[in-house]
Symmetry: D2
């Protein structure tokens, strides 16, 4: 099988397409023919660090992949050949709170990821694809969608009428927008592009803010909420947004910290957290149980992820460069 | 002012229309010209017990009323004459969990209620009417709507994709249906009337069950949910439904017990609660803070309560008799 | 190996001691030399139903057992020979809420249990024994202790100053007493024996009620709590206690339903649940994650389970008969 | 009556003792003869800013005071002359989540405080003093004790076996220690003084860290917890502790931010929050309902606050200077 691997050279150019033997299949495991992969900023960070530091040389990057079961190992009961499946970001987080050491079994990080023609995972780390979705659509779910779901639903207990602030139009923010609308909440989206804001409105955003025009968008959020602030802020870590995010949240509100290109940037002012009784919550994707809950909701609503653009498997480097340019709206997908 | 009062005679015929002096106005209080009242089974129960047992002779019944502020007492800051307001069911439950003794200040129970041309309440026991609603619509909110909201939102933590089972088409169930749909949940409604079920579908019910045809509707709910059962059951206490409600709930699910004509009828089998790890939760309307959250959601969605029929003030007894016949779909309102 | 098995004859006399081949060891599994077993009412119920109805002929009963690892299968990483371990009641409930179908992998129910010289379990269904405990002590934890822990801690969110009502002096109640005291709560224990109540006081009970003398002990609980009622009631299902338990709980309180000889007996009056805004919660043991949390607490406090009496392995039937007579205080243990 | 007031001069020297007329008594209000006041860093900050900026000239500082009811206004039902009472920090936060604008009715901030011979408060802003406590002891509760209670109990859901990290030996930390012990948790206390650490052990601390000796105490906490980290960290804002606090918390743990002399100092690194899935929660004292729960627990345990030193009313400035020197262990009290 062909797979993209980290080499000793950091950066997108260091990513190499190799021919590898098919991985062996142990009891409980499932062999998947990968049909689609989607990209997250984390993958870009992994590739940019290369194979000499965090991840080892030879590591296959990317956490998100969907495909078809082609073979099952001894004792597998949840899946059969022909089943359409998607992998869980954390192969070892099934339910409940995040376990210590979850990172060691994160796809494309602690273990090989999805940017390959084939992958072998334990059946417990796989989920069925929602029936109405294509492989490309399903491949967008494991990281960005589930992060937004965890932030708003099990952590945020979102309810109708809540205000949700979404920063920019990357993958997590657009899923956050769709999930906020699905729960009857009032979504506010920021962007520097009026065209993107118009698309956000078509997806159900109640309010939009062009931060290039308004400057202090925390102030605008306060105005839009009668001086109170947003109930939920999904802080995805654009440059220097942290301080504004804290100021845009209501007293007693929740600001979820979500990984991004370089991690949330800017420092956090503890005084705002204290005086506004804020909850600042680190969100790291989610469990398989949360993923199942999310898929049930997406299927009931026949929701479709927003795919910005697809690239063929051989152009994985071009796809990563496109993500790096930050011009996208929604998810970037690689098809196999 | 004119008001309906309990007399020594129990039953609807014992209800008498009297001419009473305007109540005095203490500091902190607000005088309201009542414009609309809505009925709940609790009011029927109060009237049927009459003025000799629970509530005293002379008690003005009904918990739900909306009107216009005509005068404010010393120190009132939240309202001014001309404001459109609705009263809270529990005049002493502002926020947090239900306090001991909340019942002693329940409108139309521990204290005089809304079935009068005028009422005087403390400003803390009042809320502004959502801007898009008429007095008639706002009058339907305090008891039935807030009960459904508490059951599904702060207690049930409802999320998109959840299954919500609603029994019949009375006030609480129809609000429950609207709130379930608003939160992206899958609502299942039961009724003995195909016509009512058709109307429930128009309001967004995903599934309907004519229990006259299916008999064991718990079985039908299990079939509709892949054998799992409903995440939320709003048990409003029709005849002999309790056992079916418990069986229709999923393992780990929640069955909210809600007052009705005669209280939930039938006994509760503790074995089903135990073996299905159910939460059976008594729900008694809600706090003012919950009411404010609900109104924010209703206003954002421009939701309108479903009013079955309105009666003039002089025909309060006819309105109660109509409720007794159980033919309604949604709320019954009396206009002043 | 020797094991006690259900036969076609229901009842304690139907239990037969057999010589069986050692079970095979699959990858991921662990072979344990059982050193101690403890009894629960559920085991008595299983034995009394015999092998013709629920559990099949040949089933090895009992959920609670502790022992020594003697062999580990391929891929086992959590345990090694010589480790002291205790099994989880639900072999398939690791964390989060109870999964559907947990019952199918309950020891001594859906699968073979612990009343044998040897057992083979998946490593995920085992926990290390707290260092300060003997095998006999550890064997008491899986069902009764964890049930009390789930009821009070993850479900009840017990806090210092809370009042906890414990019915009788069986295994769950005595663990509930110890856990309540450990969390700074005020425990009230009922019994018909002054001697047992005296022992409960020695374990930290703040108040005791001899229900033979007081009759309506719900009234006594209200008196002891300034008319408010208990924050937590652990309803373990003695004869006719349900109605009193509901009346003894405070407004907004929680009554946990816990399995017993015949399930909680008496019917549940839905009116009390409604008018007191009670939460009646079915509690079915707990997850491995809860078990780990509990063991950490027990070890920190060097807590020791209360063992009423031990029986040798050959006298398993005598041990069950002793439980049936209900004269015990704490747990009954069988040593191998 | 005599009272200490802010003047145009910032700093402790700017505090002036004045003779003022007794405040008038409105309906619902209670006049209290103040018997004891306790100090918090917030009072020091208020005094240091003086009467020209935040608080106005003439403002009476201090949030914590206990005394005797000497007169009640019309309509007061909760208290009578002779009752021993303590005031709530937030006069307008009764129950539920913190309301917007709570600050405007904070004693010694938005409104006059307790550093006076007499104060007049609404009856809803007062609580009875636990029966076993003196005025001096009760005066320590409103701010520091309730802050620790909120952080650990309603927010932290503390349970037996949890590890609680407490920084230093100021008022909040010592209450946090007592409350952690009361709930069966394992408390770790840091200090630069072995003598203070010895006293912390006498109060029940399971582990102590002299941070002058260990340097990187986050590392020590990880060692003491098998590499996991503390479940709860009460970050009270000593110099440069924030980063260490985040690193000392377990994956999925909670770090509560609590006001101090200069607010929590040092910046918060969002990467640690993200990668350890931390909850960083601003804690601002608490509601009256939380205060009542805490008092119930303190009374049941006959707990006594730790008072470092008392000063007479005329030496309020000396008391503040003593606090500024940070040599105390527990609370500083002023008696009237």
């Amino acid at each position: 099988m062909k797979a993209w691997q980290l080499t000793t050279t950091a950066g997108i150019d260091g990513l190499a397409l190799s021919e590898l033997p098919s991985p062996p299949l142990a009891p409980g495991q499932v062999r998947i023919r990968v049909r689609a992969i989607s990209l997250n900023y984390r993958d870009l960070a992994t590739v940019n660090r290369g194979g000499g530091t965090g991840a080892p040389v030879g590591r296959i990057p990317c956490s998100d992949g969907a495909g078809e079961v082609v073979e099952v190992g001894d004792g597998v009961t949840r899946f059969a050949p022909g089943d359409r499946v998607v992998g869980a970001f954390f192969q070892g987080w099934m339910s409940g709170p995040i376990p210590d050491g979850a990172m060691t079994a994160a796809l494309g990080g602690g273990v090989d990821g999805t940017l390959a023609e084939e992958m072998v995972l334990h059946e417990d780390g796989l989920l069925p694809i929602p029936a109405h979705m294509s492989f490309e659509e399903a491949a967008t779910l494991p990281c960005a969608a589930l992060t937004a779901w965890q932030a708003l639903v099990p952590v945020g207990n979102i309810k109708a009428g809540d205000t949700v602030l979404l920063l920019g139009t990357g993958g997590v923010s657009i899923f956050g927008l769709q999930l906020a609308v699905m729960h009857g909440a009032r979504a506010i989206v920021t962007s520097s592009s009026d065209e993107k804001l118009e698309r956000a409105r078509q997806l159900g955003a109640a309010e939009t803010i062009n931060y290039r025009e308004t400057g202090d968008w925390a102030e605008t959020v306060l105005e839009l909420t009668g001086g109170k602030g947003a109930d939920h802020v999904l802080e995805v870590g654009g440059a220097g947004t942290m301080d504004l995010s804290l100021r845009a949240a209501r007293v007693g509100g929740i600001v979820t910290l979500i990984g991004a290109l370089a991690g949330p940037s800017g420092d956090v002012n503890p005084r705002t957290i204290l005086f506004r009784s804020l909850r600042v919550q680190g969100i790291f994707v989610g469990s398989r149980a949360m993923f199942e809950d999310m898929n049930r909701a997406l299927e009931f609503h026949q929701s479709r992820p927003v795919i910005d653009r697809t690239f063929p498997f051989t152009e994985a480097r071009e796809a990563l460069r496109y993500m790096e340019s930050q011009g996208h709206f929604g998810k970037i997908v690689i098809t196999v």
